[in-house]
C-alpha cells in the first residue's frame, strides 16, 4: 500500500482507532495483521520472504544466546548469509547475470542469461538490514534475544517504516513496540503534524518536480543546457523531498500509535562537507554502515591507505545496496572519493561546493545507465540556448522555494516541534496553508516513492 493513496488514508485511522480500543496484550496482533495487509497490497506472495527472514533471525538470535565462541559466530554467519542470500537472490541475480554476459562478451564469448522471472520484493534491502542489525547486536551481547515471535515479527514488519525505513535498531523500535501506549493528545497532534508535513513534502514538492526531471532524463539531447542543469538541481531536491516526505509520514503514522521512530534527515543540503552530508542524509543507513561495516573494517584507526580502502568499500557497498546497477556503485564510490579528497582540500569545502558535488553524483544515481549519465553531463556543458521562459520553471521553482523555507526552519529545530510552540491561531494558520498546498497544489501525476525500489 502506498502512503500517498486513498487506501492508506482510510487504513491508518482505522488501525489507530482499533489500536487504542484493544487491550495492550492484543495490540501486537493488530500491528502484525495490519502490517501484513499493508505489505500484501503490493505483491501478496512476497510476504513469505519476510516470514522467512523473521523465522531465520528470530531462531538464530535465541540459539545464539545459548552458545559461546565459534558456534555463536557460526550461527551469526548463517543468519547473515541467509539474509544477504535472500537479498542477493532477489536483487542481484539479474545484475550478476548481466555483468557476466558483459564480461564474457569482452573476451568474445557468450554467456547465457538466466531469467528467473522474479521481481524485487518491495523494501527488501530495508528489512534485511534492519533484521541483520538485530542478530549482530544479539551476537555482540548488546541486545537480548526477543522471545516473543510476535514482537520480533512486528519489529521487522512495522508498516510505517517497513518498506523504506528508517532502518531502526531493536533497542529502540523493539522497545517502543513493547511499551504500553496510552491515547494522548500530544501523540495524536504530533503524529498529525508529521504526517501532514510528510504528505506536503512528497506530493506538493517531490511530485511537482518529478515530471520536469523525468522529461529531461528521458531525453537529455532534446533539452538545452539550462534545462539539463535545472533537472540536475531539481532531482537533488526531488529525491530529498521524496524520501524525507516518506520518512515524515512514517514518523507521523508511528507517532499516532504512540511509537517514536528516528529522524532520518537533518537538513542535508545545508551540510558544509560531504562527510557532514552523510551525517545528515539517510542517517539510519549511514549509521548502519558505520556500526556494522566501517568500524569492524577498522574505521579510521588504521593506516591512511587502509582507511581510504575502508571508505571506498563502505561507499561502494552502500551504492550497491541502493540498486543492482553499476551506476549506483559509481554513485557510492564518487561519494567515497569526495570524502577522501575532502581531508586535504578541507578549506575549500562549503555548503555550495558540497551541494554541487552531491548533485554531480546524483546524475549516476538517477540515470538508467552509464551512457545516459554521460549524456546528461554532456548536456550540462553543451547546447547553450536562451530559448526558455521562466514560466516553464514556475511550478518546480515554487516547489524548491517551499522546500527551502521548510528546511530553513528545520535548521535549528524540527518544523513540527517549532509548530507545537506557536500560538493556536498561528499554528492553525500554518496547518491551513499546508493542507491547502496538499489538497489544491499537489502534483497531478502520482509517483511511487523512489526508495521503494530498494
Amino acid at each position: 500500500m502506498l502512503f500517498n493513496s486513498l487506501d492508506y488514508l482510510f487504513f491508518l485511522p482505522i488501525v489507530v482507532i482499533l489500536y487504542y480500543l484493544l487491550p495492550h496484550k492484543y495490540r501486537w496482533v493488530l500491528l502484525f495483521v495490519s502490517s501484513c495487509l499493508f505489505y500484501m497490497a503490493f505483491i501478496p506472495k512476497y510476504i513469505l520472504v519476510l516470514f522467512a527472514i523473521i523465522g531465520i533471525d528470530y531462531s538464530a538470535a535465541i540459539w545464539m544466546e545459548k552458545l559461546q565462541g565459534k558456534a555463536r559466530k557460526r550461527l551469526l554467519l548463517i543468519s547473515l548469509f541467509a539474509n544477504v542470500g535472500i537479498l542477493a537472490f532477489f536483487k542481484y541475480f539479474g545484475f550478476a547475470n548481466q555483468t557476466l554476459i558483459d564480461l564474457f562478451a569482452l573476451f568474445g564469448k557468450e554467456f547465457k542469461y538466466y531469467d528467473l522471472g522474479i521481481m524485487l520484493p518491495i523494501g527488501l534491502s530495508f528489512h534485511t538490514f534492519q533484521s541483520m542489525s538485530y542478530t549482530i547486536e544479539v551476537y555482540r551481547g548488546q541486545q537480548k534475544a526477543e522471545k516473543h515471535l510476535g514482537y520480533f515479527a512486528n519489529y521487522v514488519l512495522f508498516f510505517p517504516q517497513m518498506v523504506a525505513g528508517p532502518i531502526e535498531r531493536y533497542a529502540t523500535l523493539g522497545e517502543e513496540l513493547r511499551k504500553k501506549q496510552t491515547l494522548n493528545y500530544q501523540n495524536l497532534s504530533a503524529g498529525f503534524r508529521l504526517a501532514l508535513l510528510g504528505f506536503v513534502v512528497k506530493m506538493a514538492i517531490a511530485d511537482q518536480l518529478a515530471p520536469f526531471v523525468n522529461q529531461v532524463y528521458a531525453n537529455p539531447a532534446a533539452h538545452n543546457q539550462l534545462q539539463v542543469v535545472a533537472a540536475l538541481a531539481f532531482f537533488a531536491f526531488q529525491i530529498y523531498a521524496d524520501f524525507f516526505g516518506y520518512s515524515l509520514i512514517a514518523q507521523g503514522s508511528a507517532r499516532l500509535l504512540g511509537i517514536h521512530i528516528m529522524d532520518n534527515f537533518k537538513t542535508p543540503y545545508f551540510a558544509k562537507s560531504v562527510g557532514e552530508f552523510w551525517r545528515r542524509w539517510h542517517i539510519s543507513l549511514s549509521t548502519w554502515f558505520r556500526d556494522y561495516l566501517y568500524i569492524p573494517l577498522g574505521g579510521n584507526r588504521v593506516s591512511t591507505w587502509r582507511w581510504a580502502l575502508n571508505t571506498l568499500i563502505v561507499f561502494g557497498i552502500s551504492g550497491l545496496w541502493h540498486g543492482a546497477n553499476w551506476t549506483f556503485i559509481i554513485w557510492g564510490l564518487l561519494h567515497g572519493i569526495f570524502l577522501l579528497l575532502e581531508k586535504p582540500l578541507k578549506r575549500y569545502a562549503n555548503t555550495l561546493s558540497t551541494f554541487l558535488l552531491v548533485c554531480f553524483a546524483w546524475v549516476f544515481f538517477r540515470a538508467p545507465d552509464f551512457p545516459s549519465a554521460l549524456q546528461i553531463l554532456k548536456g550540462v556543458c553543451t547546447n547553450a540556448s536562451i530559448k526558455y521562459t521562466w514560466l516553464d520553471y514556475w511550478t518546480p521553482l515554487m516547489a524548491v522555494v517551499l522546500l527551502f523555507l521548510l528546511e530553513f526552519s528545520y535548521r535549528k529545530e524540527r518544523f513540527d516541534q517549532l509548530l507545537e510552540r506557536l500560538p493556536f491561531i498561528t499554528r492553525w494558520g500554518i496547518y491551513f496553508v499546508l493542507i491547502f498546498l496538499l489538497l489544491a497544489l499537489s502534483g497531478t501525476q502520482k509517483f511511487t516513492f523512489i526508495y521503494f525500489q530498494f
Binding site: 494522548n184 493528545y185 511530485d207 491551513f432 489538497l439 489544491a440 497544489l441 499537489s442
Partner: protein, 335 residues
C-alpha cells in the same frame, strides 16, 4: 481531550469549507482547463446551441481526399437550419466519459443531446484500452464531491488508473474465459480460439505467401466485434445513467448508433461475425428504443465497405459520403 479534539475537528471543517471556496475561486477553472477542457467546451457550446452532440473521433475524422471536410455534427447542423448543433468530441471516448460531461452540464440544459453509441466501445478491446487511464483522469474533477476533494483525488490518482499491462491481462482473460451464448451458432466458443483460428487463416497473396496484412485485419475484426453485450456490461450501465439523467431533467436524448464496416467483417471473418454485430445492435436498440423510449438512430449497416476512411482497420472513420448519410439519418430523427 475529547473536547479538545472536537474543537479542532470543528476548526478543521470550517477551514476546509473556506479552502474549498478559495480553490474554486482561484484555481478550479485553471485545473479544469488543464485536465478537463471538454467540460468547458460543453458549457461554452451549451450557451450557443440547441442540441449538443457528444462523440469520439468518428465526428472529427475525415478522409484526406474529401473535398468537404465537415463533421457529422456540422452536416447535421446544415440539414437542420432550425436548430443550432454544437459538438464536443474526444478521441476514444465512451459512455462512461459522456456520462460525466452530461451530468455536469449547466442549467438551462439544451433541448436535446445526441450521444454516439459505438458498438465496439462495449467490447473488451475498447474497455481495457490503455487510453482508459488518461480518459478517466479527465473526469476526476467532475465527480460529485467538493472541488477541493476532487483535486486531491486527482493528485492521489484515485481513478481507474491501472497500468497498461494489467489492462491487457484483464482483456486477455476475458477473451480466454468468456464464452459466447448466442441463440445462433458461432464457429468458436471464445474470442481467443476464434482469433487463433484467424491467425492461422489462409489469406494468400498472388506470390503464394501468406497475406499477413489481411490476417492481422481479420484477427482485429474478431477482437473488436466478437463479444456479447449483456445488461451488466459497464458501458450499458453508463448509458443507463445517461438515460436516467436525461429523463429526470426532461432532455431529449438521441443515441446515434454508428455505422460499422459489416461488409469487411463478412469478407474477412464471415457471416457469423456480422450476425454478432446485428445481435448486439438489436440488444441496444431494444433496450434503449423499446424499453426506455429513447430515439436510437440505427446506422449499423448503413454504409458500404469503401465509405470507411481506414480501409485497414476497424475504426468508425468515414469519408464524406458516409458522414453525410449518417447526418441525414440523424437529421430525420431530430426533426
Amino acid at each position: 481531550m475529547i473536547k479538545k479534539l472536537l474543537l479542532r475537528f470543528l476548526v478543521l471543517s470550517v477551514g476546509l469549507v473556506l479552502m474549498n471556496g478559495i480553490y474554486k475561486f482561484f484555481f478550479y477553472q485553471k485545473d479544469l482547463r488543464a485536465f478537463s477542457p471538454e467540460i468547458i467546451e460543453v458549457w461554452k457550446k451549451q450557451r450557443k446551441n440547441d442540441i449538443l452532440y457528444f462523440a469520439e473521433s468518428s465526428n472529427m475524422n475525415v478522409r484526406d481526399t474529401d473535398l468537404i471536410k465537415k463533421s457529422i455534427s456540422e452536416l447535421t447542423d446544415d440539414l437542420l437550419p432550425q436548430f443550432r448543433i454544437g459538438a464536443v468530441n474526444k478521441p476514444a471516448t465512451h459512455a462512461g466519459i459522456y456520462k460525466e460531461w452530461i451530468k455536469n452540464m449547466r442549467r438551462p440544459y439544451p433541448s436535446a443531446i445526441v450521444v454516439t453509441l459505438n458498438v465496439r466501445s462495449f467490447g473488451a478491446d475498447w474497455r481495457y484500452s490503455e487510453l482508459e487511464s488518461a480518459l478517466q483522469s479527465g473526469v476526476v474533477l467532475l465527480k460529485p464531491y467538493p472541488a477541493l476533494a476532487n483535486r486531491f483525488l486527482l493528485a492521489l490518482n484515485d481513478f481507474d488508473n491501472k497500468p497498461a499491462a494489467l489492462r491487457e491481462q484483464e482483456m486477455l482473460k476475458e477473451w480466454e474465459e468468456v464464452r459466447f451464448d448466442f441463440p445462433f451458432k458461432v464457429p468458436y466458443p471464445t474470442v481467443r480460439l476464434w482469433d487463433n483460428a484467424m491467425a492461422n487463416g489462409s489469406f494468400i497473396k498472388a506470390d503464394g505467401s501468406r497475406d499477413m496484412d489481411k490476417i492481422t485485419l481479420a484477427c482485429h475484426y474478431v477482437k473488436s466485434y466478437a463479444f456479447q453485450i449483456r445488461p451488466d456490461n459497464p458501458r450499458v450501465r453508463d448509458f443507463d445513467e445517461i438515460v436516467a439523467f436525461c429523463q429526470k431533467n426532461n432532455i431529449r436524448l438521441v443515441f446515434n448508433l454508428l455505422a460499422e464496416n459489416t461488409a469487411y467483417a463478412h469478407q474477412y471473418v464471415g457471416k457469423e461475425l456480422v450476425q454478432i454485430m446485428r445481435y448486439n445492435r438489436n440488444f441496444l436498440v431494444k433496450r434503449y428504443s423499446q424499453k426506455k423510449g429513447i430515439t436510437v438512430v440505427d446506422n449499423l449497416e448503413l454504409l458500404g465497405g469503401l465509405d470507411y476512411s481506414d480501409q485497414n482497420w476497424t475504426t468508425e472513420h468515414y469519408g464524406y459520403e458516409g458522414r453525410l448519410k449518417i447526418a441525414q439519418n440523424l437529421a430525420i430523427a431530430l426533426q
